[in-house]
Amino acid sequence: MKRSIFRHQFLPWVLLAPQLAVTFVFFLWPAAQAGWQSFLREDAFGLKTEFVGFGNYERLLQDDQYLNAFQVTLVFSVAVAVLALVVSLVLALAVDRMIVTARTYTTLLVWPYAVAPAIAGLLWWFIFNPTIGLLPYALEVVGVDWDHSLNGTQAMILVVVAAAWKQISYNFLFFVAGLQSIPASMREAAAIDGAGPFRRFWTITLPLLAPTSFFLLVVNTVYAMFDTLPVIDSTTEGGPAQATNILVYKVYVDGFLGLNLGSSAAQSVILMLIVVGLTVIQFRYIERRVEY
């Protein structure tokens, strides 16, 4: 790699300054503040503050609801990532085989990405609404009693579908691009050697898509853990009986609605550690198996 040498020590810092400032103001500073707040017990108005050490953390780890949120987050994130990845890969493969209408389909499939998460959530809320929704009405005909305001499993299905639906477009774009970068000659050569479509997919397409898939896995996990807050908020609000209360939603509810800032800060610190940990694991252990 060619290394640029700057004569002055000053210039590189100046050039970096805007980015550093943004990182500091929008990430490091709030993160540090959350870290500090997690050791405090404060009333909502900030009139009385008391240092409680790890008290907030201790209380969290003894809290059944918090442990439940862990479990819910695990199920939710895995389900969203798997569903979003598999569906988008299938769609990308289908589009990749098209010749004439591929562009039209691509455009149509990317559309949902432009929908704001809160609106997407509301859309699904309408479709699945037990009283006024279309789907429960249709399901009743086939004998399924849909009521996600009481049935935790159904509520989980709803939020997974709503959250994954939005992410499918994004994944799809990357998969399409990834597929297009695979030289057709390789697949043709395999076809001439007598490999069927499935064999070609498993031995050529999928391994060559690995960098894309890996990247998307990381992005989707982070998406499911953080960006799904509006979807949950506009569909189930974490209910029924906390069946869809994921960690990041609990941070929001306890902090912004319950105004329990100490506990909320402690939760976001734990969440931050989890994401850092997950990313390290993904890069150290999974990335090794990915061949670029």
Partner: protein, 439 residues
């Protein structure tokens, strides 16, 4: 040249001076849609009625969002002079000594004529401290009542003018309605927490929490898992199984109103402030009104129902010049004319006796049958320590717990006793936490 400049500067100063002489106060509120328009009309009338002060209303979203915004603004030193806070936020606001300016004190300091006795005790009782001082200014208060579909009642062979008064009648009427095919469901309800637990307890004179439902101090504990509440939740779960009762969802119960509007459920319990919405949506049938049902074997029932809604809190730390404006505006707000206009336009309760009398003399209750059910029900008996209202810290979260445990009950995961026990245990953890943070 110099002369024209100084002249125009003078002219500019003259043009600005009336604006600077007028004190502006910010009012953050949570009234969207129709209610927001009615609120803004009141403010516009006030601003037009005098020239010293100007009130600037800003819509800040839901109740929870408005309260959170005000608290965040206070932490940043940018708080509004007046903020509308819902009744479950009362415990939090009250504990924030130093952040709030109690209304009784404001009115005394500003030498505003102010008579706490003019307000309806059932409304004001919710917002006074243990010494009887009014801490915030009641603005929009409502209480849950019973709505029923007169046409369905008649089709089922019931008297269309007689709403059920007891829970056994609710059950019997519902069965008759369902068996006759007049409607597929007996009843539904908004606000499980507020209607079927808090008001239910007050209506039956059952304790919600120790120390007068929390009015007596931060050391309070929930006791809402008594035998009467257990019996009622047990019945609700059974009625849901039998189809007599349909659940309308957590918090306000968004799915409940459509069930009543589409004539699926014949009886509906919700806030008296839902009246306008009910009338607007019940286009195909006639609506009747009644008081909340009670169990006639419970001694002391029916007692009186309690309110919900919101009050206006004055925040401390604003420039001194703003507080006379707030006091003057509050006097205007509680005047009988303004109150009667707000009450009749929205379905919220009048907060003063004078506003009620004025509405009556205007013939409002004769022209709108059912509009006075809420007031009659709320003032049925003088409030007892169990029916004055409730005041707990972190109550926004406890409301969430009530919904969760009710859902667990309906889903068959818990019995009524287990759900209410768990609710009390979880709620008390939050109350202890709040006590520790505020004591």
């Amino acid at each position: 040249m110099f002369r024209t400049l100084s002249l125009s500067a003078l002219a500019l100063g003259a043009a600005l001076s009336p604006a600077t002489a007028q004190t502006e106060i910010q009012w953050w509120h949570a009234m969207g849609g129709e209610l927001g328009q009615k609120l803004e009309a009141i403010v516009a009338d006030y601003n037009a009625s005098q020239s010293d002060y100007r009130v600037v209303p800003s819509f800040k979203g839901t109740y929870a969002e408005t309260m959170t915004a005000a608290i965040a603004a206070f932490r940043a030193g940018e708080q509004p002079a007046v903020v509308q806070v819902f009744e479950v936020g009362t415990g939090t606001m009250m504990a924030a000594k130093g952040a709030i300016y109690p209304v009784y004190q404001l009115m005394t300091d500003m030498n505003e004529p102010f008579d706490p006795a003019a307000f309806l005790p059932a409304v004001v009782g919710y917002y006074t401290d243990t010494e009887g001082n009014m801490l915030s200014m009641p603005f929009n208060s409502s209480t849950p009542i019973l709505y029923y579909n007169k046409d369905v009642f008649e089709a089922a062979g019931l008297d269309r003018e007689t709403p059920p008064t007891t829970w056994s009648e609710v059950e019997a009427f519902s069965k008759q309605i369902m068996e006759s095919g007049a409607a597929p469901c007996g009843f539904t309800t908004g606000w499980i927490s507020w209607v079927q637990l808090e008001n239910f307890s007050a209506w039956h004179n059952q304790q919600i929490g120790t120390l007068e439902n929390g009015f007596g101090g931060l050391g309070t504990e929930l006791t809402v898992n008594g035998p009467v509440q257990v019996k009622h939740w047990d019945n609700l779960a059974r009625w849901q199984q039998e189809g007599i009762f349909q659940y309308g969802g957590p918090v306000g119960g968004n799915d409940a109103p459509p069930k009543f509007y589409t004539q699926e459920c014949a009886i509906y319990m919700n806030s008296s402030a839902s009246r306008a919405g009910v009338i607007a949506n019940a286009t195909d049938f006639e609506v009747g009104y009644g008081m909340l049902p009670y169990y006639d074997d419970v001694e002391g029932a029916p007692q009186n129902s309690i309110i919900g809604g919101a009050t206006l809190w004055v925040m401390a730390g604003r420039p001194d010049a703003e507080y006379p404006a707030v006091a003057d505006f509050f006097t205007y707000l509680s005047s009988p004319e303004v109150q009667a206009q707000w009450h009749q336009g929205t379905g919220y309760l009048p907060i003063t006796q004078a506003a009620w009398d004025l509405s009556a003399s205007q013939g409002y209750y004769d022209a709108n049958p059912g509009a006075d059910v809420s007031i009659k029900q709320m003032t049925l008996n003088p409030p007892t320590p169990n029916s004055k209202g409730l005041r707990f810290g972190s109550y926004v979260q406890i409301r969430g717990i009530i919904d969760e445990e009710f859902q667990a009950l309906l889903a068959g995961q818990k019995t009524a006793q287990e759900a209410l026990d768990a609710l009390v245990a979880r709620g008390n953890v939050l109350i202890r936490e709040f006590e520790a943070a505020n004591d």
